[in-house]
Symmetry: C2
Subunit: 235 residues, 2 copies
C-alpha cells in the first residue's frame, strides 16, 4: 500500500521505518523537504537530522505535505498537536476520501497552565483542547471528506509499531472514529504491527479520553522510569 506519514519527528519515523519493513511504499511529508534535508544538527529534543536518519532506510521518500498526501492511499498524521489542524486544513483536498490515522496529543506548554513536576520534563504539560473537545474531533471537522481514526495515542510510538516489545504484546490498543471501513483498515495495519487486542471505543468523540489519558501516561512513565509500557484492559 502507498502510505504517507505526515511529520518527520520521532513518532513519524517509527511508523515510516516499520511500514517499510512491512513492505509498504512509504512517503514522509514535511513542510519544506529541502529545508528538512538541509538540517545537519540534532533538533532541540536531540533527534538526529532527518537526512542522516533516512539514509538507513533506503526507499523512504521525503516530499512536501501536499504532494505526500496527494499520492497516498492511507495517511498517518504525525504532525505535533499544536500545528496539526492548521497544516492538515491546508492540504484537505489531498486527504478527501482517505483514511487518516491520527495519534497526536494536543500538548501546550503554556507556563501559566503547566505544573511544576518532579520529573525529567520539569513540568506537567497541559492540553488544549481538552475535556469538551479534542484534537481528533477538530481534525475530523477540519477534514470533513476524510475518514479520521484516532489510534495509537496511549502508547509511545515505538510501542505502537512494535507491541511485542512490551510484555510480549499482551496489551490493548484503542481506536475511535466515525467510519467503520476506515477503522477496519486501521485495525488491519495495527494487526500487521503485532496488535492482538484492538478495542473500538466508538465515535471520534472518544478521542477526548484517549488524549486526556496523556496525563496518566506521563505519571506512569515517571513512576516506572520509562515510557515503554502498555495498558491492558482486563475483563
Amino acid at each position: 500500500m502507498k502510505i504517507t506519514v505526515l511529520g518527520t519527528g520521532g513518532g513519524g519515523r517509527a511508523h515510516a521505518a516499520r511500514l517499510l519493513q512491512l513492505g509498504h511504499e512509504v512517503v514522509v511529508g514535511t513542510r519544506d523537504s529541502e529545508v528538512t534535508l538541509g538540517r545537519t544538527e540534532p533538533n532541540f529534543m536531540g533527534i538526529e537530522p532527518f537526512g542522516q536518519w533516512v539514509a538507513d532506510y533506503p526507499g523512504i521518500e521525503l516530499m512536501n505535505f501536499g504532494d505526500a498526501a496527494a499520492g497516498a492511499e492511507f495517511v498517518i498524521n504525525g504532525i505535533d498537536g499544536a500545528n496539526a489542524v492548521r497544516v492538515l486544513s491546508g492540504i484537505a483536498e489531498h486527504l478527501a476520501g482517505k483514511t487518516v490515522m491520527d495519534y497526536a496529543v494536543p500538548y501546550v506548554y503554556n507556563p501559566e497552565r503547566a505544573h511544576p513536576w518532579p520529573t525529567p520534563w520539569g513540568v506537567m504539560p497541559a492540553l488544549d483542547p481538552v475535556d469538551h473537545d479534542s484534537l481528533g474531533e477538530q481534525i475530523q471537522r477540519a477534514l470533513p471528506a476524510a475518514k479520521v481514526v484516532k489510534a495509537g495515542v496511549t502508547q509511545e510510538q515505538e510501542t505502537v509499531v512494535n507491541p511485542q516489545s512490551v510484555g510480549g504484546g499482551d496489551h490493548t490498543m484503542f481506536i475511535a472514529g466515525e467510519d467503520a471501513g476506515a477503522k477496519e483498515q486501521v485495525t488491519e495495519l495495527l494487526r500487521a504491527y503485532g496488535w492482538q487486542d484492538v478495542l473500538d471505543l466508538g465515535p471520534i468523540v472518544s478521542s477526548r479520553g484517549m488524549e486526556m489519558y496523556a496525563h496518566m501516561h506521563s505519571a506512569i512513565q515517571f513512576a516506572l522510569g520509562g515510557a515503554r509500557f502498555g495498558m491492558k484492559v482486563i475483563r
Copy 2:
C-alpha cells in the same frame, strides 16, 4: 481500625460493607443522619434508601459528617465531586492529621459542555476542574493539615473493594499523594481489599491524570457494555 466513609452513595456503601467484612469499625457520614434514615424511596439513580441497605450490615453506624470524621482513624471520601470541597472544608478540623483517601471524580453536567453520546447515559459528562488542576489537589489545599491520598479513581468502587472479581485481581491500582506514610496506610488497605499491583504515581498532582482517565473509563465501559473491568500496566 475506626474507619469513616463520608457519603452514602453506591461507592461509599461498597467500601463500608467491605470494611465491615474485613473486621473494621465502620461509620458512614452524611449531611443529616435523620433525613438520610427517613428516606423510603430509591434516589434518582435507583439506589435503595440507606436505611434499607444498612439493615443488612449490622454494625455500620450512620452519623453526621463532623461527628463521623471526629471519631475516625482513617477516612474515605465518597462525597460526590461537585460537593466534596465544600463539605470537607466545613469539617477540616476533624480531618487534621488524618489520612483521607479520595476516589471522587469532579463530573459536571453542564449541558453546554456535555457531549451527546450514543450510550446509556446519553451524554459524555465534562470535568471541572480539569487538566491544570484536579479535585484531589483542591481537597488537599482545602485540608492542609490532612494527608490526602488519591486512590481507587480508575475503577468502579465495586471493583476497588473486590479486585479479585475482575480477571482474578490481575490489574493495577494507582495512588498519589504528598505523604509517604499516608500512602503506605492506603496501600495496606488496598492489599486487604485484594490488590496485588499498587503503583505509586507520586505527588497529588497525579490526581489530574487519574481523574481525567474518567473519559477513557466511560468509553471503555460503553465499548464493553459494562463497567466491571480493570486496567493493568504491562511492563
